[in-house]
Symmetry: D2
Subunit: 238 residues, 4 copies
Amino acid sequence: MTNLELNILDLSLNELLRTVNKTESILKDQYDEIKEFRDIILTARNLRFDNGNDATIFLAGSGRSGFVAKFFAMRLMHLGFHVYVFGETLVPPVHDGDIILFISKSGGENAVTDSIESTKLENIKKSKSSPSKNNMIFENVKILSVCGSFDCYLASHSDAKIVIEAERDRKSTKEESERFDSLGFNSNELVIMGTGFEDSALLILDALVVEMMNNLGLCEEDLENNHENINRPKVSKK
Amino acid sequence: MTNLELNILDLSLNELLRTVNKTESILKDQYDEIKEFRDIILTARNLRFDNGNDATIFLAGSGRSGFVAKFFAMRLMHLGFHVYVFGETLVPPVHDGDIILFISKSGGENAVTDSIESTKLENIKKSKSSPSKNNMIFENVKILSVCGSFDCYLASHSDAKIVIEAERDRKSTKEESERFDSLGFNSNELVIMGTGFEDSALLILDALVVEMMNNLGLCEEDLENNHENINRPKVSKK
Amino acid sequence: MTNLELNILDLSLNELLRTVNKTESILKDQYDEIKEFRDIILTARNLRFDNGNDATIFLAGSGRSGFVAKFFAMRLMHLGFHVYVFGETLVPPVHDGDIILFISKSGGENAVTDSIESTKLENIKKSKSSPSKNNMIFENVKILSVCGSFDCYLASHSDAKIVIEAERDRKSTKEESERFDSLGFNSNELVIMGTGFEDSALLILDALVVEMMNNLGLCEEDLENNHENINRPKVSKK
Amino acid sequence: MTNLELNILDLSLNELLRTVNKTESILKDQYDEIKEFRDIILTARNLRFDNGNDATIFLAGSGRSGFVAKFFAMRLMHLGFHVYVFGETLVPPVHDGDIILFISKSGGENAVTDSIESTKLENIKKSKSSPSKNNMIFENVKILSVCGSFDCYLASHSDAKIVIEAERDRKSTKEESERFDSLGFNSNELVIMGTGFEDSALLILDALVVEMMNNLGLCEEDLENNHENINRPKVSKK
């Protein structure tokens, strides 16, 4: 086995790059929605409640989308937000005025309820009609989502969303097709499972962090100063 | 604040894409080393020990590099490898013949020892000279790394490595410079902290998964069948 | 505030100890069921499948019951079992012949489905009637539980269970009542929320580990040799 | 194997209970120190910094001691403290005035530096002599510990500590010795590894939660209202 060349690494990476490069057009096509998405997050720094705290941002995602959520959560903390990830040890209760951000390719009702332990979004956003102390009333909880289609359950229940379709629509050249055939490789599997969605979501959210850094009047050093400081190696910048 | 346009989201995303697109040249420039990197992982499926188990692959990383490690770990599991991530609840002992893969931009001695709880690589790979039962002898533990420079501690102690330099060498156009000035934005901060390294590492490793899928004679459906199956929404493929 | 004595620490600890000491009678009263509980776990080391692996044990629990699950999971690993905890990074699919152990005080349908991401036990144990490839058929998955009542959903769906009722039935002395009154303390809150259940569950399961250690012909050193070995301080025993 | 009785479950549980019951005398013998331990935690709710936040409490522990840390961290959150656990996704920087609580049986320098990623306590508490912006100055960080001996590195560097020695000093009766012999069981292994320490630490800290609940003028319902509220089953109290 160790004599094998790198059979399709180049084509797989090339196809993954082609997929994530589409985020530039997503940004243009969904400009207003992404602006709204950003604004909802930014308002978490402005709202002041009785206890003097900012609104809290909760991140939800399963599997590798959950890792994307953690990537973004850490940067939100660096930006100075109060942020938690469902499924971690420490998750406070959601209060009215808070924000829940879901990352889910399928965006199906099941996927969403998985992420937040089987509570439907309808229940989270239920009306004032049951104002007793024992019932949650979240009429002002904002739902954000990064999902894989415009018509999924999650998209239709979100206050703002970023949709990454990550379709597999690649056409192989004749030369490539022969190469795939000789390897017994299905050319439709150059990017597998949710990879295109997850990696695109990460890149868009990482750019959004820089956007918000500027919006909030912060610079890179401010974010570094909000990073865990116990025994972190100093980062030297060029 | 909510009247703000998306000030620099487009330029930040564009610059992040420019950074990750450099992975194509990394692949060409480090072809032999990446081949060796892959081969060491593949051998974990071949080695058979007395107990009939495959070699185990341990992933190590701190912070967001740790999330990259988790992304790759999950796919290694899908490929059928025995894999663990340092810092999780369940981490078995490392045995001779196992593999440790580090993901660290700085690759400094401190960063590495952080990732695996202050054991130096010298100790992990120490010689046979102390063969008593109470001492670990790991002469055959293979060290793999994804790191940010060719001359860091981690790179110099690895059996195979992938180096992602992710330098910030962008030149702004005159128009862009004026835009940055008007926003009070430092153009060197379009991609911040370790983002360029982390996102590039994720993309390369995700492509490597597809490469190994083919090497092992597997297809996408095989990987899906190795995914957690309790209440996962069915993924329909186009 | 710093001049306060330790108001009720002694009574709270005393009451918590009284609660956990009841585990001795649980052990007597549920002897046969606990024996069955143990036997189901032990069989995971005996069953051999086509791929030569043992059966896998999956642990499920939410909140602090989830930490009890992690405590036990680590010891099961030390005993040599293949074990995973739902919610961690790496969770393989459940296969027929595997074991799922739930830890939940309420044991309600909601609590259980939370723990394993909204799959009902009925679905996990569904019959052979739908043998297509896309459906899970788990007729031989064993369900174990540690729960807080004999008549909860979880108990009624388990192949073996340990029930820890942890009732709050303390009677205060006259002297204690006066002390509580002077502090404005509700004597019914000496042990709060699920604490009595969780701590009792931990103690019973920790004893069960030693029982199984002996059943499997292992000693303490064998378990230590299955513990993470990277930079662990040597434990000296008296 | 399935015909085996429960060989030593009763004696193991009995011995574990004997160990944890010793916490009552720990409480008496270390009254003043535990009072100081509590007071340092309580002050985290009083201190106000420039940004209007309370002091933050950081929990550190490895392996099963790390789970004890998570148990206590969750309750501290329920009590209204700002609390984080090293090793989780979200860990902010430590600032002057914050508190770090270590849970470690050995309390050795290595164990401590493992828990917080190789920073020595000397460095955390280093003096004002290097007041540049890039250096951490933590002269007012308080170190708390729950450890296994009075003379370990951790104990000697703590502002307040709870010491749980959890010695194995059991004497077997003649009848028990015969039973152990017939089973080939080492009576010194009725409680293994760190179990006695970990379970005792959990019980003491759980009682301390109730003590602080009263100190802060809170009741059980207040803590429940600080628990994650998304899809938690309602807890009915007797």
